[in-house]
Amino acid sequence: MVLDIQALSKSYGETPALQEISLQVRQGELLTLLGPSGSGKTTLLKVIAGFEAPTSGRVLLRGRDISRLSPARRGVGMVFQNYALFPHMTVAQNVAYGLKLRRVGRAERERRVREMLGLVRLEGLEGRYPRQLSGGQQQRVALGRALAYDPEVILMDEPLGALDRALRIEMEEQIRGIHRELGATIVYVTHDQQEALALSDRIAIMRAGRVASVGEPAQIYTRPADSFVAGFFANANLLAVREHELLGDGSARVRCGDGEVRCASTAKAGDRVTLAVRRRSLWRACAPGSLRVAGVVSEMLLFGDEQEISIQSPEFGRIVATIDSRDCGGIVLGAELELFVSAEEAVLVPCV
């Protein structure tokens, strides 16, 4: 384990920003802190980096308590959303900055800068100044600067937030590649689920200063821990449940609308529950043992190969379904539509 966060809390005056956060980051993994703005993910990163002191709790880096150390003595690297490159230094000087402070010799420094610029594919640009580079190139310099002195862990604070979509996808690929190649341990902050899914080994979903759920992307996606995780991470519809019975093997019998299904469950006895149904788990064809959801079509958005159909159901309120365009024949705005939820893709979750 590289990073061990133990019962960490941080408050600004009376306002709690982080509450009792415990989180472990393993060697060589990319862990994403995912959450809406104000959920505390950036604050957590700042506490790890040493820009903010925790109110209580500890941060251990390879077993060493770094909670009270200055940022300089923690041995972490960081990539900022707005690059934060030193404008008066060239690309090479930016990358060499951490090495220079560590009194690495000139020859070794130059070798290391060449290596880093090769890694982030910026060979030939070492003499340029940041303002002469594009946004994507600047962020690659920032990545090189953070990696150059071989830190134990690299913190990334929404590093792709300022880039446009096409560039973001390209950079995601590059970050994945570098992560694999170096086996670097990375804590990555974002509010974008797609980015988190594309990059992460594990994801910690944050809500109101707490970690709502930690796990592998597929696991969080298919077995969300609660209604917030299901709604925020998987964009799931939350259906009101009439009755339910937990069956003890991680599944439950659920009466919902005019049907009854057996489905997976992450709820505990006594929880208030709701049925999480992802947008792609709604079909036009009725399979045996599926739930019927009906309502008036209120919105249709064409996404190319698929369409996003919203229906207004008297029983469940607004339901959004993503349906293959080939199956969309006969769907008319303002007309009645019935859809079916396949039971194996629905999850009973506790409400938060």
Binding site: F51, S70, A72, F80, F86, A142, L155
Partner: protein
Amino acid sequence: MTRALLGDRFTGAASAAVVAVTTFALLVPAALVMVLSFSDDRFFDFPPHAWGLHQYRTLLEDSRWSLALWLSVRIAAPVALLAALVVVPTLFTIHRSRLPFRNALQVGGIAGIILPISAYAVAMYGVYAQIGLLGTYWGLVLANLTLAVPVMLLVTSAAMSRIPVELELAAMVAGASRMQAWFAITLRLLAPAIMAGGVLAFVTSLDEAVLINFLGGPGQETLPKAILDSVRYGLEPVITAIATLLMVGTSLAMAFAVRLARRGAL
């Protein structure tokens, strides 16, 4: 055409006219003085009867003017330097600390140029008389400093707010102490603005004509005071040459300062 557009056109034309008249009113006397400075006449007359460099020769020969200039420079140079020494820590306090009264510091810092200068001069006269600073060199330096600090603070504060704090954080994560980050990154990026502020502080002090009349003692004749006295006790044409040199000098200094400030912009 809509009414709003017409209104726009009218205000546009009106403000252009105001700017034109103001500029004209400012520039004509300045141009006139410059023209007059190349007159060889003994007395003011326009247009001059004879052209030449007589006024500039008089200026060089009369030690009174060079002494006055020398005193002004001897005050303005330390004022600019001391202003930087006061302003730089103030900037870091205002922009980088979490002190509760840091905004009050910003307002207090520029008070010197908000207060009416004559009222301020009376107040300083009272204080100086009490502590025996009247008519002293350091008294004048201190008085001019209270005017130069606000000027410099305004220029550099704008530049400081354009330097993202993340740059310091990035330096610190990479292994720099807070002091190293401040010196190697923030102060380095602030340097052009500090230089520009220094030039403005120097010019402000060089040009100071009110406080000197209250706080200066016998024999303490700065350039603005010498000009004022010369006008008061009989008009000597030589002041056209001084005025011209002052205008050209400060314009060049200002242009230099503006260029520095622009180069410093991120």
